[in-house]
């Protein structure tokens, strides 16, 4: 996917003035937050399980080379194939050549963010193979030719009426007078249309929530059952997975599963958690004859051993964006690439470079809600700060901002100068604003005063008031 992360500010500006988007984003606020709280409250051990889930991933990442080798050996033993791919391009080619070897014309797809990351659909289309997204949200955005705006609810930016219009536009062979005003009718129509596609597909592609080293198994977690039809009906099942998805054992997988759905949708468990090991066995009456795993690195191995390693614990639950005020305001598309919200703000610069995506770690209020809800206890705000520092060190911050930060640093490192400068400034502001108590406009603070007034300070700096209180406190003791 072509990134527009460098244009975050323009993207966000447009999003803030898009009434349809703003209406749709209301569903994120109402749809996820309360349900997560309730699910967590129903399981007294929830926070302990988070600690253990984190520890499992930390252990796995520290031994990633060995776990991947063990995982691969098991897949091979079970009759599957593993395709190691260093880059997105290698991964696209690997999928294409499997499809070609089967003369595939149609492939069905379960939801996979990694497939978005490697721009798989575009590549298949360019080579004469039709990819059909089967997750309802993914299907909707495929019809709209849009990227996902949320990692678990890809069409969260779309309203019901828009879906109706898209279905009428594309499902031309259905009676035009049919009613599609209810969500249930839309779900039903998608079910009917896609049923046919599952049956005619030659290859089914899914992502993976986990790869289990112990058994050589890939795991998908869905609610619709689309992933299961996708991987069961065609001749071949291709799994696209990045290498940090591996976990040691079934027991470890169970522990992380206990925090995944609760954090994501507030369900205790998703409807379908499916474990796939190799192709169908000779005596099996159904299932795919071939099983391939595309094991992708795409920059992840170089995050190991750095301050960004913790990000590789991410299980893509979406809780961080569900709780992010910036995400709520600007929506997922503003982030300009595949991964939005706080996890995207940390991951995107790692994968496509801080030169392109440097705005994202700056799009944060540092309110800390993302870290508070992250089931894998990923220190997202701290890592955004790391990116800001790197961006600054690499001289990528805009000249005006650099000058201001450098000037501030010069003053802040000199306590006497700092006290003198702040008391002067605050005194001046206090006197100027005494009558109204706030400012409509203020030089250098146009970004603030364009939308709200700036409160006038009391006229004395915090340090001065603190010092005075300390003096009084001592005197009264």
């Amino acid at each position: 996917m072509q990134s527009t992360s460098h244009a975050f500010k323009q993207n966000a500006h447009r999003a803030l003035h898009d009434p349809m988007l703003q209406k749709a984003m209301g569903h994120v606020r109402s749809g996820f937050i309360d349900k997560r709280v309730q699910a967590a409250a129903r399981l007294p051990e929830f926070d302990q399980l988070r600690d253990q889930a984190k520890a499992i991933k930390d252990h796995t990442l520290a031994h990633l080379d060995h776990y991947l080798e063990r995982y691969e050996a098991k897949v091979l033993e079970m009759g599957g194939k593993v395709h190691w791919c260093a880059t997105a391009e290698e991964a696209r080619e690997a999928v294409l050549s499997i499809c070609r070897s089967l003369d595939a014309r149609t492939v069905t797809k379960g939801k996979s963010m990694l497939s978005e990351e490697i721009a798989l659909n575009e590549h298949l289309e360019a080579n004469g193979i039709e990819p059909v997204e089967t997750d309802l949200g993914e299907y909707i955005i495929q019809l709209r030719k849009e990227p996902p705006s949320h990692i678990i609810a890809p069409a969260v930016h779309v309203n019901k009426e828009q879906v109706e219009a898209d279905f009428r536009r594309v499902h031309k062979n259905l009676p035009p007078e049919r009613s599609l005003s209810e969500a249930a009718q839309l779900v039903d129509e998608a079910r009917q249309v896609l049923r046919q596609r599952y049956l005619e597909a030659d290859v089914g592609i899914t992502g993976a929530n986990f790869l289990i080293a112990e058994t050589g198994t890939s795991v998908i977690v869905t609610n619709e059952g689309n992933g299961d039809l996708t991987q069961t009906l065609p001749k071949a099942h291709i799994v696209v997975a990045s290498l940090e998805k591996v976990v040691p054992t079934l027991e470890d997988c169970a522990t992380i599963l206990r925090v995944l759905a609760r954090s994501a949708t507030g369900q205790e468990f998703s409807s379908y958690t499916t474990f796939s090991t190799g192709p169908r066995r000779p005596e099996d009456p159904d299932g795919p004859e071939e099983y391939h795993v595309i094991l992708l690195d795409n920059g992840r191995s170089s995050m190991l051993g750095t301050e960004f390693q913790d990000m590789l614990r991410c299980i893509r639950c979406g809780a961080c964006m569900n709780h992010c005020p910036v995400y709520h305001a600007v929506g997922g598309h503003s982030y300009g690439w595949v991964y939005p919200g706080p996890m995207g703000a940390v991951l995107t610069p790692s994968l496509i470079g801080v030169e392109e995506a440097g705005h994202l770690p700056n799009a944060s209020t540092f309110c800390g809600r993302c870290e508070a809800v992250c089931p894998m206890r990923i220190p997202l705000p701290k890592m955004m700060r790391h990116w800001r520092e790197r961006e600054f060190e690499q001289h990528q911050a805009p000249a005006k901002a650099r000058l201001a930060i450098e000037a501030w640093a010069f003053v802040a490192k000199r306590p006497r100068l700092y006290r003198w400068a702040t008391s002067l400034l605050i005194g001046a502001l206090g006197r100027a604003g005494r009558r109204r108590g706030r400012f409509r406009e203020l030089p250098l603070a146009g970004g603030w005063t364009a939308h709200r007034d700036f409160p006038a300070p009391s006229g004395r700096s915090f340090q001065a008031r603190w010092a005075e209180q300390q003096r009084r406190g001592r005197a009264s003791r």
């Binding site: 027991e251 090991t277 190799g278």
Partner: protein, 227 residues
């Protein structure tokens, strides 16, 4: 250099891997012992408490649960279920001895019973389960010659027959039973099913029956002294 070698090399470099640092042994040991992590209290029930937690958790996620006392009551329960939901008296069942052994002809003579993998036209499937997990009301089914996976997803209605002795508290107990029953390797597909198919993709409102079954009906055989 192959990508495999390059990727593993990059990982080892990033991790500062040293020969003889014990990492490989640590990995071996963990995979061999596959120790349990914390198992939530609610997964540690027994007897009637276990069965009722399973039922209430399954009902919370929109499955329906019906208890019968003996095997002989299952065919009638299935026939009644179809009638209640205005479904034609026709089922596709798993060619599994536990299901075949039920007295279909005797107890539900009007029910048309076919066996095998699912056809796209099938409206109702009847399958056994490998296990059921009380902590979240989850059914565990797996593929095999007697249990085609298509039965779990293609028909709009899925009826699952579960015995009380198959109900366990936590996922970890399922892993133990799976390993014991399949020492060489896991079956190709293991399905954990928690309620019928659903989606929230249109304005985050829940709708049932997205692609998989719209209805999930569990017939729980709780024989005397079984629980």
């Amino acid at each position: 250099m192959s990508s495999r070698k390059a990727i593993l090399g990059a990982i080892r470099h990033s991790l500062g891997r040293q020969r003889g640092d014990g990492a490989e042994q640590a990995v071996e040991a963990r995979l061999r012992t596959h120790d349990r992590n914390l198992v939530p209290q609610r997964g540690c029930l027994e007897g009637e408490a276990l069965l009722s937690l399973f039922s209430s958790q399954a009902e919370r996620v929109d499955a329906t649960v019906e208890r019968v006392a003996t095997d002989a009551e299952v065919p009638e329960a299935v026939a009644e279920y179809l009638k209640r939901n205005n479904l034609p008296p026709r089922v596709r069942m798993a060619p599994h001895p536990d299901i075949q052994a039920l007295p279909w002809a005797e107890k539900a003579p009007l029910l048309e019973v076919a066996e095998g993998r699912a056809d796209p036209q099938d409206l109702v499937s009847v399958t056994p389960a490998f296990a059921a997990v009380a902590e979240t009301g989850t059914l565990v089914l797996h593929s095999g010659p007697q249990t085609p996976t298509t039965l779990n997803f293609l028909p709009e209605n899925h009826v699952v027959v579960v015995r009380a002795s198959q109900v366990v508290g936590a996922y970890e107990e399922v892993w133990d039973r799976l390993r014991a029953a399949n020492p060489a390797a896991l079956p190709r597909t293991v399905n954990m099913i928690t309620g019928p198919s659903r989606t929230g993709d249109i304005e985050q409102r829940l709708e049932l029956g997205a692609h998989g079954p719209r209805r999930l009906h569990i017939v729980l055989i709780a024989e005397e002294g079984d629980s």
